[in-house]
């Protein structure tokens, strides 16, 4: 406390009041207003962000809508391209599976004995492939497959003709086992195998009434040609 004796202040410190007091009854509403204002600003910013997100969603949606036709066109073309590619691939497979038999027939003419009269030279259609799903026991019901699963097709050559005796047939068969036909004809002489080649289907007395059939032998021999592989 000051020692200035001329200031005799009779007012107690507790009785002193302020001209600008901080009043709770004023500050609380002010603080509440600030809090409300802060909340409003926060909610406002949140709302703004939501609106911005919504507007960007709409923009993206409209862009998607505008590009939908183009996208569908692109997808259609891509499907078409895939389809064409698959067709092309299939055609490639078919091209890989192409076999020319002109050389076989030319060579066949060369080695054909004079005593043989070919009545039929046929490459029959391949036997149908199995559509049974793998693992199905025989006799059990099953749902057949949509199509063949293998890409290998067996091809056979059927020679049918007439001859007065057996010798020319043997001569023909020997000729067909020569190196000339190695690239075309498979020779498997084991009779137990299913792919036996050549397989003599029949050799019998010709029973046709006309001509001199009664003195001729009719034969039918099946040769297994090299498999057709549908691959590139």
């Amino acid at each position: 406390m000051s020692a200035k004796a001329y200031h005799l202040n009779l007012l107690k410190a507790s009785e002193r009041v302020s001209s600008s007091p901080v009043r709770l009854r004023v500050m609380l509403p002010v603080l509440a207003m600030f809090a409300v204002a802060g909340a409003v600003v926060w909610w406002g910013s949140l709302l703004g962000r939501v609106l911005m997100a919504k507007s960007s969603i709409q923009t993206l949606q409209s862009e998607i809508d505008t590009r939908k036709a183009a996208y569908a066109d692109v997808m259609e073309k891509m499907n078409l391209a895939n389809e064409l590619e698959s067709e092309l691939e299939q055609l490639e497979y078919y091209r890989g599976g192409c076999r020319s038999y002109g050389g076989v027939f030319t060579a066949l003419a060369e080695v054909m004995p004079l005593k043989i009269q070919l009545t039929r030279l046929e490459i029959p259609p391949p036997p149908p492939q199995s559509l049974v799903p793998p693992g199905v026991l025989p006799g059990r019901p099953y749902t057949p497959l949509w199509g063949p699963t293998g890409n290998v097709e067996s091809v056979s050559l059927v020679l049918a003709g007439r001859t007065p005796k057996e010798t020319p047939i043997v001569s023909l068969m020997e000729s067909l086992e020569s190196d000339t036909f190695t690239n075309f004809i498979s020779i498997v002489k084991d009779p137990r195998r299913s792919d036996q080649s050549p397989k003599v289907r029949s050799i019998r007395q010709d029973t046709s009434r006309r001509g001199e059939g009664s003195r001729m032998l009719a034969f039918e021999i099946e040769y297994r040609l090299k498999d057709r592989r549908f691959a590139k």
């Binding site: 020692a3 004796a5 001329y6 200031h7 009041v17 302020s18 001209s19 600008s20 901080v22 709770l24």
Partner: protein, 397 residues
């Protein structure tokens, strides 16, 4: 900073006092015609300025004279240019007491829980006037207590152990405050006021509106502070003896290095009104003519003045000798304040009788800004002193 939790509960936040740089001093109930003198002071860059000075409309009600009257609340506001944050109220009241006393006497009065009216007013009726220096060394009998005072006494169980210099304390329906004087011995300056008057004054300037009361002090002690910024006072190193002439009282103050070391009231001396009345009656003048006669040299008022002024000058000489003998204060500067006219005659008489030349400087000397000058400024001494005392106190705190 004060935080008001409820209407009655307020807590203070932050540090203690800080320097007040904008204060309005108001002189309440001093009897000045036309209103209450008010002076607004502001300190800017270490220099004191008068922001505004003038008479403001007084409060609607007079100072209460009983607890019943004090119960009626009265609020007051100042004109806008006087609305500083803090106000220092200098109060004049017949129930106020200011004087130099001893700590022992103060404690005795405090224990009695009595309030004393102005010392001179009481002593004027006292046949056994002491011729001592005017410093009371014995307690006076307690006045009769009113029921309200008795109730207040019951509530306030103050003891003398709780007395601290500068801290107001209530007892027996009276508000006490004292400050030790920087002299050898237990001398203190004491002020008392009835509690109801103080409470009424404390509610006069309500909270939340500029200004609010930071200080309520007796006008008499505020006068003692009005000298602080005087250029001649500063030039004398704060060593001075001053004569303060109030309307009905005359006080003598001694200063050493700017500190108040002596305060006494001239017993039996009439104040300014008494002196001027004597001149008016002695010279057969109208009341309006007294000041001009005292300022001019056409008519010599000394035959009328001397019987009144001589006792005052004699007491002034005694006080000067006391300062020289007891406080080793040799040849202090001498001033006279409170006289709108006739200060020259005071000085001439003092020079003849006591070889002292009394200077009568302007009230606002040493303070910058537009302020009343001359005789008009005399009425503002109380308001100025109250503001200076508050600003000086806060600066030293």
């Amino acid at each position: 900073m004060k935080l008001q939790l409820t209407k009655t509960k307020t807590i203070e936040i932050g540090g203690g006092r800080r320097r007040l740089s904008d204060v309005v001093g108001v002189d309440l109930f001093s009897g000045v015609d036309g209103g209450c003198p008010a002076v607004r002071l502001a300190e800017k860059k270490g220099t004191l300025h008068v922001v505004a000075a003038g008479l403001v409309p007084p409060p609607a009600h007079a100072l209460p004279e009983s607890w019943e009257q004090a119960a009626k609340s009265c609020t007051w506001s100042l004109p806008q240019h006087f609305q500083s944050p803090h106000a220092a109220l200098a109060v004049s009241s017949a129930a106020l007491f200011v004087g130099q006393t001893t700590l022992e006497a103060f404690k005795a009065d405090f224990s009695a829980g009595s309030h004393r009216q102005d010392e001179t007013a009481a002593q004027n009726t006292d046949a056994a006037k002491s011729r001592r220096i005017g410093i009371r060394r014995a307690s006076k009998p307690a006045a009769e207590s009113t029921p309200a005072q008795t109730a207040a006494t019951a509530q306030q169980t103050a003891s003398t152990a709780a007395i601290e210099p500068g801290v107001p304390i209530s007892n027996g329906g009276t508000r006490f405050v004292m400050k030790k004087m920087p002299v050898d011995g237990d001398f203190v300056m004491e002020a008392t006021i009835p509690e109801y008057q103080l409470l009424w004054l404390s509610r006069l300037l309500p909270e939340g509106r500029r200004p609010t009361a930071a200080s309520i002090q007796p006008r008499t002690s505020a006068l003692a502070a009005s000298i602080l910024r005087q250029g001649a006072f500063a030039a004398a190193g704060g060593n001075a003896i001053a004569l303060f002439v109030e309307d009905s009282l005359v006080h003598i103050a001694g200063y050493r290095s700017g500190d108040l070391v002596l305060w006494r009231t001239c017993r039996g001396a009439p104040g300014r009104i008494g002196i001027f009345d004597a001149v008016r009656k002695g010279l057969g003048l109208d009341a309006e003519m007294v000041e001009s006669v005292l300022n001019d040299a056409l008519i010599d008022p000394r035959p009328v003045l001397e019987p009144i002024v001589t006792p005052i000058v004699d007491e002034l000489a005694v006080s000067r000798d006391y300062l020289a003998d007891k406080l080793r204060l040799e040849s202090p500067a001498a001033f006279v304040f409170g006289l709108p006219a006739g200060a020259g005659y005071f000085s001439a008489i003092a020079e003849e009788r006591a070889h002292m030349k009394l200077a009568a400087p302007e009230v606002f000397d040493g303070i910058e800004g537009e302020a009343p000058r001359g005789a008009e400024a005399v009425a503002y001494a109380g308001a100025l002193g109250a503001a200076l005392a508050l600003m000086g106190e806060e600066a030293d705190a």
